[in-house]
Amino acid sequence: MTKPRTLLAAISVSLLASTSAFAGDVRIMWYSDGVEGDVIQDLLNRFMKDNPDIHVTLDNVAYKVIQEQLPIQLEAGQGPDIARVTNIKELAQHWLDLRPLVADPKYWDDNFGDTLDWMRPDGSKAITGFMTQLTLTGGFANKTLFEQAGVALPGDKATWDDWINAAAQVAKSQQLPAAFAIDRSGHRISGANVSYGANYIGADGKPAKVDDGTKAFVGKLVDWTAKGLMLKDTWVSAAGSTYRAAADDFINAQIPFYYSGSWQVANLSTKIGDSFDWVATGSPCGTAGCSGVKGGAALVAIKYTKNPKDVAKVMDYLASENIVKEFSERTLFLPAHMGVVAKGGLKWGSADKNVGPALDTFVKAAGETLPAADALPPWKWSNAYFAALVTRVSQVMAGELTLDAAWAKIDQDIADKVAEAK
């Protein structure tokens, strides 16, 4: 009688004491902007049906959890087995190298090779994950409002000035609160800065001081805000580097021109419906080009996983060509898989007539990005630069700083961040 009791007690204690995952358990921390949570769950259900020995749990969390809590979990050597993240370079030391674990590393190199550097430490050849979506910053115009105002949509090589002037005419004619808005994000204005000749990266790979390109566009932006052409709410009504999107103002037809990015296509399609016609415009031009900034969300394996082989199996499945294609078609996200892009023929899962042309515009605009913009996604200091820009530029817009003082503060903020990271 004593032996079974002792055995039972030992099993109970070990079960209670154990925090490690069971073999075959894979946890994914996932956030959603639109319908992608449902789509990935559906795809995972199929995977589990074919692989009954692996159980995948999808934890849908708020984006804030990914941004604020996941880094702390990772520092503690904990966290999920796989996560969908946007802060992919800065946290790269926590990602698992899947190269020895995936079925065919060459497949990964061939199809995700141009974005693998975005999610691994500098100089590393690791395969840590793949981009679930490739994004590109770009604009959207309310075609119906332009038509009602009798203002022609600016053409392909229209400059920022052309777009703002045209949108201002529409706003005046249709009695709108403002001509345009840009999301409150350093990432969003960086394409425009680069289009005016900005380069954030110094010769040593460290952040360069704010240059004339950035000064040129930010100066215009501040001026447009002071004149009431840019919607003041988005940038001015918050402090620090808080992210604020202006999508709702575009959806509610409060602004004729909105600069955000390709990830908004599904959101706009769902919420605008047939209320008005809208088009994607790509990025307006500056003096150096017409560039947006690429980016996106990556699905990465976490190196603290207890089940690396199972994680690699899940990653292999989700990165396979058919699954990437289906995921992109159903979520309206641009795929990062080079094979899928090269073959083309994506059947976007939307009956909205605005969606297909909008996504095509973004695909076309992806070929027009400038090298200084392409260098930003895999650059370690991008987020520091973006955050400093937002914090200080919004202070200038609120009348708290002069532009000259803001340049000095931006340089100081970034230098502090670099020094802190040593």
């Binding site: 503690a76 009504s237 918050a238 402090a239 955050a387 609120a398 009348g399 708290e400 802190e420 990271a421």
Partner: protein, 340 residues
Amino acid sequence: MSAAATLKTWAGAALAAPVIWLASIVNVPLKSWQRATGTGGMAAFFLAPNMAIFGIFVLVPLVINFFYSATSGTAYFLQDRNFVGLEQYQRLLDCSNYLDTATCREDLFWKAVHNTGLFVVVQVALMTVVSIATALILNREIVGRSFWRAVFFFPVLLSPVVTGLIWRWILQRQGLLNLIVHDLGGEPYNWLTDRFWAFTAAVSVSVWAHMGFYTLILLAGLQAIPRDLYEAAEMDGTRPARVFWRITLPLLMPNLLVVIVLALIRAVQIFDEVYVLTGGGPGTSTLYLTQYIYEIGFASLLRNPGLASAASILMGLVLVVLTLLQLQVGRRGERKGARQ
């Protein structure tokens, strides 16, 4: 004894039996403990669970925070951080003119300090005046007094986030207030992007949200003032204003001091409702100390846990002073009460 009474006694005994059994089990070690340590030991025994919780969730984090403030780096684990001594404090306090935030190394910290100072002065003054006025009205024999007391207390029960959201929906550009302004033929205004109105909204909303609590304290004080003093004043034909200044206010002073000190402490800690309402904007005009610490410690892409810890310790020192003041006020009130 009636059958009902007998049944009641049996039921009572049945319910008490397990408790008595449990007590008899606990009694043995407790008695031994008391014999070994005396009554002081018993006090320690009963305080131990509470002290353990306090230690784990308050004292230990406080000590860890001190260590964080003496380190630099972006890592969260102490062993991965570099010891820098008082460097973070020096950085925060590096200012050629404390009244001009532009001359400070950490200008946002000082901006938050200035904003918090102004907020505390205006909010506490307004809170005190409004709470006294409300308590005086609710102390009178008005129709539906209980209903009005509940109405004024209700916002205290709301979550600060809910409070912030409600007022944001009212005050935003396309909010309820502008709808009313528009319907009355006025020009809608962007209240939350105007520095003056954003500050006014932050102060007003926090007063609205918390005044019910302070009103309750003052109401208790008002009800403790002997009625015969007012009757005597009435017989002497004293004017109501004189009654207020000479009778009500002096006798309400102990409660009023408690209200002022509590409101001061709470105002220094202001965060949630204002964060939801204004996000610290426009610019940084409603950026307060707690939001600065939260942003720099966790939320910002420029996050710096060491600097956030140092800032929180400086803020903690201010709160310690205010708490000591509160204790002093409380003791003085007790002594005065004892003398009376």
